[in-house]
């Protein structure tokens, strides 16, 4: 079943007289429970795509259908209510937290805004979410800036799943983490996806990460989606120049080839 479908999405930036086409004629879809990886070099338009999907900026043209609704026609209060269905994990996790907030306040915000549980049960719900992402409930009282990178990422994930969304957009969500922490976060994400039946739009410049989590891949180059297909097909035989360049860059970083992939156990085992 199609959860999200994007048709001919387009977005330009006008900066100092220059026109930059950040997303051009992008078309793709994501099925329920599926992870679509979006790979692309820096500046290929991946973050712009994320911001368009999350309604953080309007597109110049195109259509987004999410959970059967015309997503772009939603406004104001209706949009805010529906936002609980699509959440996001940002790359600069700390920058995406209120600077002086505690962990509990950060996770409590979506619970409070969408009243996912009655007020008296909020503390318990925050504790449940913390444990869900592998943190002790004692974390609730700590300021977010005191946490380590991996802990912050877990809090960001807890906040994103607090409203039980059907789609989570992850923009370079593990790129700032070192390899061990990154692998544990990827395992957590794959596990959460199985249990909650969420879809992921997983954005990364790193094919090694995408190979571990994505069922399908889309390759972006200069704002266009130049190639889509099953992850293994694209990695083995990229059709586009941009795809070949990304694969070559990944292989170069992993001289041992396949066996350096430390997260095989979380590799998707089912096809969509």
């Amino acid at each position: 079943m199609t959860l999200l479908s994007v048709e001919n999405l387009r977005r330009r930036y006008v900066s100092t007289g220059r026109d930059i086409v950040a997303v051009e004629n992008a078309t793709f879809s994501i099925a329920a429970g599926e992870t679509l990886g979006i790979a692309g070099a820096s500046g290929s338009g991946k973050s712009t795509m994320a911001r368009l999907l999350l309604g953080l900026m309007p597109p110049d043209a195109g259509k987004i259908t999410f959970e059967g609704q015309d997503w772009l026609s939603l406004k104001g209060k209706d949009l805010r209510r529906q936002r609980s269905r699509m959440q996001m994990v940002f790359q600069d996790v700390l920058g995406a937290f209120h600077p002086t907030a505690t962990v509990g306040e950060t996770i409590g915000d979506p619970i409070r805004v969408h009243r996912t549980v009655p007020k008296p049960q909020r503390t318990r719900e925050i504790a449940r979410l913390l444990e869900r992402v592998g943190l002790s409930s004692d974390f609730a009282g700590r300021p977010v800036y005191e946490l380590s990178g991996g802990q912050r990422q877990r809090v960001a994930i807890a906040r994103a799943i607090a409203t039980r969304p059907s789609l989570v957009v992850l923009d370079e969500a593990v790129s700032a983490l070192d390899v061990q922490v990154r692998n544990r976060i990827l395992e957590l994400l794959v596990e959460l996806q199985r249990e909650e039946n969420m879809s992921y739009l997983f954005i990364s410049h790193d094919l090694a990460v995408l190979r571990a989590v994505s069922h399908r891949l889309a390759i972006m180059d200069a704002g266009r989606i130049v190639e889509t297909g099953h992850t293994s097909d694209i990695i083995e035989q990229p059709q586009s120049a941009a795809g070949r360049a990304l694969v070559a860059a990944t292989l170069r970083l992993m001289p041992g080839g396949r066996q350096t992939n430390t997260i095989q156990q979380s590799e998707p085992t089912y096809d969509i």
Partner: protein
């Protein structure tokens, strides 16, 4: 708090806070250390300073106690300065927040109003306002605030515009938080500190403006002010210069204290924190 610790380490901050503490103590305890109406006649006219132990700073043309006038004048100066600056900053914060957050036509209109107020010199504005409304403390406070709110408004708007683009505001929108809550809880608290850093300069300017208005006879006629004391001393400037010099010194010390305080505050706020709270910000997006 870290900020207070860092503030106390700056020499400017220390000196500033000492001067201001003394002034505020003087102003608050004026009825005790200089009891009675400072405008009443206390002795013979034009007594020189240090000649009579009961009138340490002498008397003016009408025989009023100069020391008592200066102490009570500190009340007016500090009260008017602080109240006017508070009003100016409150108005500026409100207007700047609304302009920056709403954007579009609301922003355009508000910023043109800000422009208009910035073009007219604040002192002229205050002068005109008091001449029309008549001199009384609240009018003087409003008059000074009227000429001083534009700067904090512009500063607040710039802060809001930059904060709006931050990821944590985007994250709050993604959560579905209502715009008013985002403005009040996520943007306002972060936009305020830089505006507060310049607030001391606004206080200093307000104190000077009040003195200037009083000097021109446009202050509240029922309270002693340093400006009116300087103005009256002017008539006997040759024979009794201290009558103008004393309140003038008080004014200089006050403005200096406020200025040093603000310097210390700015230094404490811009000095890097001992513990690093900042993560790598955007711009290193691969």
């Amino acid at each position: 708090m870290k900020l207070i610790q860092k503030f106390i380490k700056t020499p400017e901050g220390i000196v500033g806070i000492i001067i201001l503490s003394i002034l505020i103590t003087l102003a608050l305890s004026a009825p005790i250390i200089a009891p009675g109406d400072p405008l009443r006649i206390a002795g013979r006219a034009l007594a020189a300073p240090f000649s009579d132990p009961s009138l340490p700073l002498g008397t003016d043309r009408l025989g009023r106690d100069v020391l008592s006038g200066i102490i009570h004048g500190a009340r007016t100066s500090l009260l008017v300065g602080a109240a006017a600056a508070l009003a100016a900053i409150a108005i500026g914060l409100m207007i700047g927040l609304v302009a920056g957050f709403c954007g579009g036509i609301v922003d355009e209109v508000l910023m043109r109003v800000v422009d208009a107020f910035q073009i007219v010199p604040g002192f002229l504005l205050a002068l005109a306002f008091v001449s029309v409304m008549g001199a009384s403390l609240p009018v003087v406070v409003m008059a000074i605030a009227l000429g001083a709110w534009a700067d904090p408004a512009r500063l607040t708007r710039a802060q809001v515009l930059s904060l709006r683009e931050r990821d944590y505001v985007a994250a709050a929108r993604v959560i579905g938080m209502p715009p008013v809550e985002i403005a009040v809880k996520h943007i306002l608290p972060q936009a305020v500190p830089p505006v507060l850093a310049v607030s001391a300069t606004i206080v200093a300017a307000a104190i000077l403006t009040e003195a200037a208005l009083s000097f021109l006879g446009l202050g509240d006629p029922n309270s002693v002010t340093w400006g009116s004391m300087i103005s009256e001393g002017r008539n006997v400037l040759r024979s009794s210069p201290w009558l103008s010099i004393m309140p003038g010194l008080a004014l200089i010390v006050t403005v200096l204290g406020v200025y040093l305080f603000s310097e210390g505050l700015t230094k404490a706020m811009t000095r890097p924190a001992s513990t690093d709270r900042s993560a790598p910000r955007d711009g290193m997006t691969p």
